[in-house]
Subunit: 252 residues, 2 copies
């Protein structure tokens, strides 16, 4: 369908994946709107992993390797875009995988479980009755999590997450690592650590980093975390976008 | 559903409109992704009509008032967001209304015609066999237009349009006025005149401007057009975004 030489080929292929996920019934329509916002921000950061994202990923992997109970929280967009990589990263860092949806329905949960199992996941938490624990301060179905997963987690990796839930998890004392290409979102601001980059590029890089950094000792990992400053990273990303927009205005 | 005091209430209400349009079957899933990109850029320009958009709207109305055969080209996103305003603006400037879809199906065309007729439109071009003329240099269904509308138009107002089609219309010698909140899109770059603003805010302002500027004589209108420089307007919008991102980085 998409010509080989189309200048936006990669972006269009990714777009087809989320449209397919909508048609398959595990991505809510709002997930497509969120994807569009992401496309825009990806363009703003030059559709490449920038230095501020590399630094955040290193600190994120350090945090995940030192965690007692790390969990990767999965929603429809993530399942549509990086199902295999979710499973591979979870294996590398010994993390649980939990389905956690903003628009929760049992049908969507089960379909995402299926996608992840097809990608090789042995256990998928947060589906149906497993999501029986409750996150305080959140309303409706969004607060339901697994007792074996997010509820007892010390570090939670979320992608394209909602700001309120990120805040609620942080208030529960959890460290939240957010993959969010929008540095201005409430999630980005609330998270303990924000990776401002496209989730498509983040997962393969995190997997490589995990393989490499596993060999480091705990003190080294702790040092990386101590030296990390999320506010500075967010500032750096905004300055990068500002500078890029200025450059583009000059080249018009 | 959406709390009265939600900080992003207006944006969420608009979001519900496009989700509804998807459910009603006249907006393609890709339209939701496009909407998401728009949300992002709206945030970047401060969710307000800025000076660069006001200048472009004035020149656009001058162009439309001087046109012999102005046409408003309507797609799914526009029908979802501003159906009444499309009809009102068309009345003010004596323009035809034509349905023109990227993902053309007879079902979608008819549904959009219905939405526009419900909003008061007397005539809606480009539906079914009416779209029998062909725009050169475009493939597939996208090139079909109405002989009574876009095919003979001298000025075409498009919203959230695709870059290839904008380019094809310009090559046919038509003046294309694009409402596109992304100043970097190919549509924005290709159009004769680009209004970098949210279509929700653009239509009411264009209607007021039309009422007012109708009283001006032709020379005055022509002068506004002559003084207008689209490249400068696009640069101004990028500089604005750049400056705003820089300010936001300082306030973090």
């Amino acid at each position: 369908m998409i010509p080989e030489n189309h200048p936006r080929r990669e972006s269009l292929i990714i777009r087809e994946k989320v449209v397919k996920a909508l048609e398959d019934g595990y991505l809510a329509p709002q997930g497509l709107i969120a994807h569009g916002r992401g496309e825009c921000f990806d363009y703003l950061i030059g559709e490449k992993t920038q230095e501020f994202a590399m630094k955040a990923m290193k600190a994120a992997i350090a945090m995940l390797l030192l965690a007692k109970n790390p969990v990767i929280s999965v929603n429809g967009n993530m399942a549509a875009l990086v199902p295999d990589d979710i499973v591979r990263l979870a294996e590398e860092i010994n993390a649980k995988i939990e389905v956690n949806l903003f628009y929760r329905t049992l049908d969507r949960e089960k379909k995402i479980e299926e996608v992840l199992k097809r990608a090789g996941a042995k256990e998928v938490l947060g589906v149906g009755d497993d999501a029986s624990a409750v996150i305080p301060e959140l309303f409706s179905e969004r607060r339901r999590v697994s007792k074996k997963g997010i509820y007892i987690a010390d570090v939670v990796l979320v992608g394209l997450e909602d700001g309120d839930r990120t805040e609620a998890l942080v208030k529960m004392g959890k460290k939240v690592i957010a993959i969010d290409i929008n540095p201005l979102s409430r999630t980005s601001q609330m998270a303990s650590l924000t990776i401002v980059d496209n989730i498509i590029r983040v997962f393969p890089k995190m997997i490589s980093l995990a393989k490499e950094m596993k060999k480091s000792d705990k003190d080294e990992l702790q040092k990386i975390i101590n030296q990390y400053n999320n506010k500075e990273i967010l500032k750096e990303s905004l300055r990068f976008i500002s500078e890029r927009m200025n450059q583009l205005s000059l080249s018009l």
